[in-house]
């Protein structure tokens, strides 16, 4: 009976590992999948212009960052309004979040979720959830040990890079495309 239970647990563990790997692969493929406007082959033309947000540190030694369109961002405006959603760039000084136009000058700070952290956090969360469910199903003991792991995975999942546009960073729109 005991051997049978151990065998079952091993099978379920393997299944959970397989599902985690599948989740990571799906996340990566979703990340890499081109948006509709970017889909191209040798026969299909690339769009003429591509627009990105370019964030540059004001100090001489500062580094720069690029935020591509159609990513989820969090924005705090100078008036205190918080916006969260997928953004698109309208022109050189305006972006759109949730059908709301926003001037770049009006942004106080910008938060961009870290993709890799999301993948790692999601993987840990799914694994911990599976193990917790399995443990509860097999032994009937509430899996309290999973709570710290769940909290850690949530923290990792929600990690984001904050860009302070009032003092530290300057923002502008860059555009271009392959010839």
């Amino acid at each position: 009976m005991k051997q049978h239970t151990i065998s079952n647990v091993c099978h379920i563990m393997l299944l959970s590992i397989f599902m985690t790997i599948q989740f990571v692969v799906q996340c990566q493929s979703a990340e890499n999948s081109p948006t509709l406007c970017n889909v191209q082959s040798d026969s299909v033309q690339t769009p003429a212009t591509e627009k990105v947000l370019f964030l540059k540190k004001n100090s001489d030694f500062g580094k720069a960052a690029v935020v591509t369109e159609n990513r989820t961002i969090k924005v705090m405006t100078k008036s205190g309004q918080k916006l969260k959603g997928i953004f698109s760039i309208k022109d050189s000084s305006t972006i759109e979040i949730n059908q709301q136009l926003l001037s770049l000058d009006a942004i106080s700070y910008l938060k961009v979720p870290r993709k890799n952290f999301r993948i790692v956090g999601g993987s840990i969360a799914s694994t911990v959830t599976l193990i917790a469910v399995i443990t509860f199903a097999v032994s009937g003991v509430p899996p309290l040990g999973a709570i710290p792991f769940a909290a850690a995975s949530y923290i990792i999942f929600s990690a984001s890079k904050k860009y302070d546009l009032q003092t530290v960073y300057s923002i502008q729109v860059l555009r271009g495309g392959p010839n």
Binding site: S29, N32, S33, P34, N38, V39, Q40, E50, V52, F54, K56, K63, A64, A65, V66, T68, D91, S92, Q172, V173, L174, R175, G176, G177, P178, N179
Partner: protein, 163 residues
């Protein structure tokens, strides 16, 4: 040993044949009117893009195999500065982008390990020092880890610029 030194000096002096060496002070005083981002995109498959901004450490090579490495500064879509060398972008056939994480890790661990090497050597433990030497080498090798882009065959490169 002298051959190793000779090859090290020869390797470090290799550069682009037609590139111009630029005065560092001139480079620092150079006022950039525009910002640029270099985009490297896969030609096939998922068309994955890599955005490379100024001050990223890269190594570029031309068709003849000569190379230059250092921090990138995009002067214009035609010209880039790599370290102190001014290079025409059309001349470049391959770009290696160094991984910052591996580079930092390698420098810290390699530096620590190298210091330990010298410390053991100075205090009469040459065998122990020799034992750590491969570890130092392995750590230093981490700094060379890079992602390679062949911008002739497999990737295309273009620039984004401000409005």
């Amino acid at each position: 040993m002298k051959y190793i030194l000779f090859f090290a000096i020869l390797y470090s002096t290799l550069g682009f044949g037609q590139s111009q060496s630029v005065d560092t002070n001139m480079m620092q005083n150079q006022e950039k009117s525009e910002d640029f981002v270099l985009v490297i995109q896969k030609k096939t498959g998922n068309q994955k893009k890599r955005y490379i901004v100024d001050k990223k450490r890269i190594r570029v090579s031309n068709a003849a195999g000569a190379h230059a490495s250092g921090k990138l500064q995009i002067v214009s879509p035609d010209t880039i500065l790599v370290g102190t060398q001014k290079i025409a972008f059309s001349e470049i056939t391959r770009i290696d982008v160094y991984s910052r994480v591996f580079r930092t890790t390698g420098l810290i661990l390699g530096g620590f390990s190298g210091f330990l090497n010298l410390y053991l050597l100075a205090f009469g433990e040459p065998e122990a020092s020799l034992g750590i030497l491969p570890v130092t080498g392995a750590f230093v090798t981490l700094t060379l880890i890079s992602r390679r882009y062949n911008i002739v065959d497999k990737h295309r490169a273009y620039f984004l610029k401000s409005y």
